[in-house]
Structure formats: C-alpha cells, structure tokens
C-alpha cells in the first residue's frame, strides 16, 4: 500500500520549483548554443537575438526567487527540504550567470562584426562542447538529485580549464603576424574566458547538488 504523504502540497510546490529551474536552464543552454552558432556563422542578427533574449532568463530567476521565499515563509522547511530550496536559489543564480555568459559571447561576436577570422574557428566550438556537456550534466544531476552525475560533471572542469589555457596561449601567438586584428584576437580570448566561466558555473551547480543530498559542502572548483 502506498504510504500517505502528509505534505503533498509542499512536495508539489518543490517539484514545480525544480521544473521552473529546468525551464530556465533550457533557455540558458539554448542561448549558449545560439551564441556559439552566431560566432561560427558570424550571424550578427542571431547574436543580437541572444543579447535581447536575456530578459526572459532574468524574469524566470525572479519568479524562482519569489516562489522559493514564499515556500520558506509558508512551509517552514527543515533539513533536506530547506537545502532543496536553498540550492534552487543558488542554482538559479548560477544559471542566470550562464545566460549572461551567452550574452557576453554574443556581444563579442557583434564586436568582431563581419571582419574575416584570422584562422578557422575549430577549437573554440570544441571547448564549448565540453562546457555544454558539463551544463547538461549539472542540470541533470540537479533534476535527478544524483550526486554521481554531479561528481562526474565536476571532474570535467580540468579539461575545460586546460583547453582555455592552450587556446589563449595560441591566440596570443597570432598577435605579431596580425597587428590589425587585435580587436578580434582580444574578443576571441574573451569568448574562451566566457566558456571557461560557463564550466565553472556548472561545477558550482554540481557542488550544490552534493550539498543538497549530503549536507556537506565541497569545493570542486579548484
């Protein structure tokens, strides 16, 4: 016999909070992908759409914060329930920052404009793919409350950090031969930095999932 749940209304609200976050993460993830497409195709129209689309992410973050505070005020959550709400607040901020990174990438694309790339853009999308994998992992870990996925996600951060170091180093080597493309080289370096930050935000989400499930705070972002 299924045991009667005495707080089904609260449980439904917690589930709804999680779904709101999932929706927000979906929009942020799409914005990151669009920003990358805009970079690859030098699609300024798409870049501008990413920049203007950030309001939707910000609005969702506000909604999540209000719902979380309402649940704290009305349901007096304790232990894991309290951690769930605390983590929802934190994760929403991390996801919002990911959205901001997508906007930053899009702005760099606009800054480069239609100037011909000094080399074919191959490595940056690869780095982005690794970072996006971390985004998916961290959000899956959050939604399924699975610390194994969270740990795996955090383990991937070192690879992204290495790619970042190598890419920036390589970009710097182009400066002497391309003194007129300084702006482009700087913007591409910025983009690498923004992607590296996206991976860091994913690691932060993974840390929060581990905290939610175990009550222990770990620093995986080393």
């Amino acid at each position: 016999m299924k045991r009667m749940n005495t707080r089904s209304n609260f449980d439904n609200n917690l589930k709804h909070l999680k779904e709101m976050l999932l929706k927000m993460a979906g929009i942020s993830e799409q914005a990151i992908k669009d920003a990358m497409l805009a970079l690859l195709n030098q699609d300024l129209e798409l870049a501008n759409r990413v920049i203007n689309g950030d309001n939707a992410i910000d609005d969702l973050e506000q909604e999540i914060h209000e719902k979380a505070l309402m649940l704290i005020a009305t349901e007096s959550p304790v232990a894991r329930d309290l951690r769930r709400i605390n983590v929802a607040l934190k994760v929403s901020s991390e996801v919002e920052r990911m959205g901001d990174m997508a906007v930053n990438i899009a702005k760099s694309v606009v800054h480069i404009g239609e100037e011909k790339y000094i080399k074919e853009i191959v490595d940056i999308p690869q780095m982005m793919e690794a970072a996006l994998e971390m985004v998916t992992d961290s959000i899956t870990a959050f939604y399924t409350e699975d610390i194994t996925i969270a740990q795996k996600c955090a383990e991937k951060d070192d690879a992204v950090d290495n790619m970042f170091g190598n890419l920036v180093h390589e970009l710097m080597t182009y400066i002497p031969q391309n003194p007129n493309s300084m702006n482009q080289i700087i913007q591409l370096s910025f983009i690498c930095r923004f992607i590296e930050r996206i991976a860091d935000h994913s690691t932060n989400i993974a840390e929060n999932v581990i905290y939610q499930e175990t009550g222990k705070r770990l620093n995986l972002n080393k």
Binding site: T6, F10, S76, V78, A79, R80, L82, G215
Partner: protein, 273 residues
C-alpha cells in the same frame, strides 16, 4: 622553567573547573524502561541531559516522550500501574529508587504543564503556597521570593500592582508564566515543561519562548513540544522519540539541518506523525 610549570599545574585550584569541551551532565538516564501495566511505553533508553541547556523531546503522539518527561520527577507514580525500570541518576542518586523523597525531588525538579493551572487564589498566594508548605513563613522573605520569581518569569512588571488579585484574572500567557514563576520560587535545578505554550496565542508563546531561553542560564530545562519550529528555536539539544525508542539525540542544529536517521528527517519535515 619546566619544573616551575610542572609545579604550577600541580597546584590545587580553589574552585572546581569544568572543561569547555565536556558539558556537565545533570541527569544521566540509563536503560530506562517504563510500563503502563503490561504495555511498555519506553523501551530501554539511555541519554545524558546537559546542565544549563534546553533539551527538546520531540516525536509523534504516543511515542513515549511525555512518559519519559514525567518519569524524571516521578509524576508517573500518580498513574496506577505505571512502573519504571532502569536508572535516572541525579546528583549521584537514582531518582527511580523507592527510598527517594518524592516531595523533595519535585522541589528540585519542577514541572509546568500544557494547560496553565494556577490555583484559584491570588497571584501572590500562587507563588507562596509551596513556599509556606516548605516552611518559609516570614513575610519579608516571601515578598522577596515572590518578586524575584515573577521577575525571572518576566511577569513582574505586568502584575506588580495587582499581586493580590485572583490569578484567574490573568491572560492565558500570563497564567503560564505565573506557573513558571511558581516553579522557579521553589529554587529547582531542573524544569520540566510539557508543551507549555501549545494553548497560547503567538505573542504569549513568543514571551514564554524568550523566557525559556533566558532561564537556561540558571536552570536545566527539558521541554516536550509538538511544535518543530519551537524546538528548533529554543533548544540546544533535541531527542527524537518514536514508538518508545530514542531514535536520535543530537545538537538541535544537527537534528534540524542534517539528521543522521531518515525517520528523524521524515518526522521533522512533516512527512509523517
């Protein structure tokens, strides 16, 4: 130099020292079992109650927490068929021994009940009744204890001008604080509170809670409460009872943020009970 330090450490101190890391135990409960006739209500629990702390006992109805509380000042003796086995050590004595002077015990371990129960007498007499019974007759002494007790119970300012009016004219919250003052007047070391504010409005409840936190400086307090927020707000240690067993006993912070037992978490987050 080393010899000097060694000599200094050998000096006997003129006062007793207590370690910062080892809280002093006021009551040591060992393998306590309580029966109502054939039915066992408490299944052999052991725990140490710390001095000058608020210990909250939580758990669903019928879990044994009130039975346990009442055994600490032998109130269960008044229930026909109730029997306690095991030990509750207080000042090197087993409270449960037959040769314990129960009247003297209840002076040291006072109790306040769920429903305020002042005597149908004046506010002043409510406090002096027990004192007179204990042999204090001098008016100036009685006056002094009445004021001291009412001040400690945070009631003095509200009643000082009507000490000889009926206690029943007070509000529910004031009546409960009067009952606490009445207990304090006997100069106990431990105060047992059985859901002391469940019948009070939120403001009176807040006053009683503030009072409890204040009183722990001088007394050790054990409180049974069904209000999880109250337990988390005012207690230092929390014991979770279920079906006569002590499931978890830890710092209140741990119990309410990261309990080790799943049942505890389910109970405090309102998933059952």
């Amino acid at each position: 130099m080393l010899t000097a330090i060694k000599e200094r450490t050998n000096v006997e101190l003129p006062f007793q020292t207590t370690s910062v890391f080892q809280p002093e135990t006021i009551l040591a409960v060992k393998n306590l079992e309580i029966f109502y006739g054939e039915k066992r209500a408490v299944n052999g629990i052991s725990l140490d109650i710390e001095k000058n702390t608020v210990t909250a006992l939580i758990g669903p109805s019928g879990c044994g927490k009130s039975t346990f509380l009442r055994s600490i000042n032998r109130m269960n003796d008044l229930i026909p068929g109730a029997k306690a086995i095991g030990e509750i050590i207080y000042e090197d004595l087993n409270i449960l021994s037959e040769d314990i002077n129960v009247v003297a015990l209840r002076k040291e371990i006072g109790m306040v009940f769920q429903k305020p129960n002042p005597f149908p007498k004046s506010i002043y007499e409510n406090i002096t009744h027990g004192l007179k019974f204990a042999g204090i007759k001098k008016k100036s002494k009685l006056d002094e204890i009445v004021e001291e007790s009412l001040r400690k119970a945070a009631l003095w300012d509200e009643v000082k001008d009507r000490l000889h009016k009926s206690a029943l004219s007070l509000s529910g919250g004031q009546q409960q604080r009067l009952c606490i003052a009445r207990t304090i007047a006997m100069k106990p070391t431990v105060i047992l509170l059985d859901e002391p504010s469940s019948a009070l409005d939120p403001i009176s409840n807040a006053k009683v809670e503030d009072l409890i936190v204040d009183l722990k400086k001088e007394y050790s307090i054990i409180i049974v409460t069904h209000n999880m927020q109250q337990a988390s707000r005012i207690s230092d240690k929390t014991a979770f009872f279920l079906s006569g067993d002590l499931i978890e006993y830890d710092s209140t912070e741990t119990i309410f943020t990261n309990p080790s037992v799943k049942k505890t978490e389910e109970y405090i987050s309102g998933r059952f009970g």
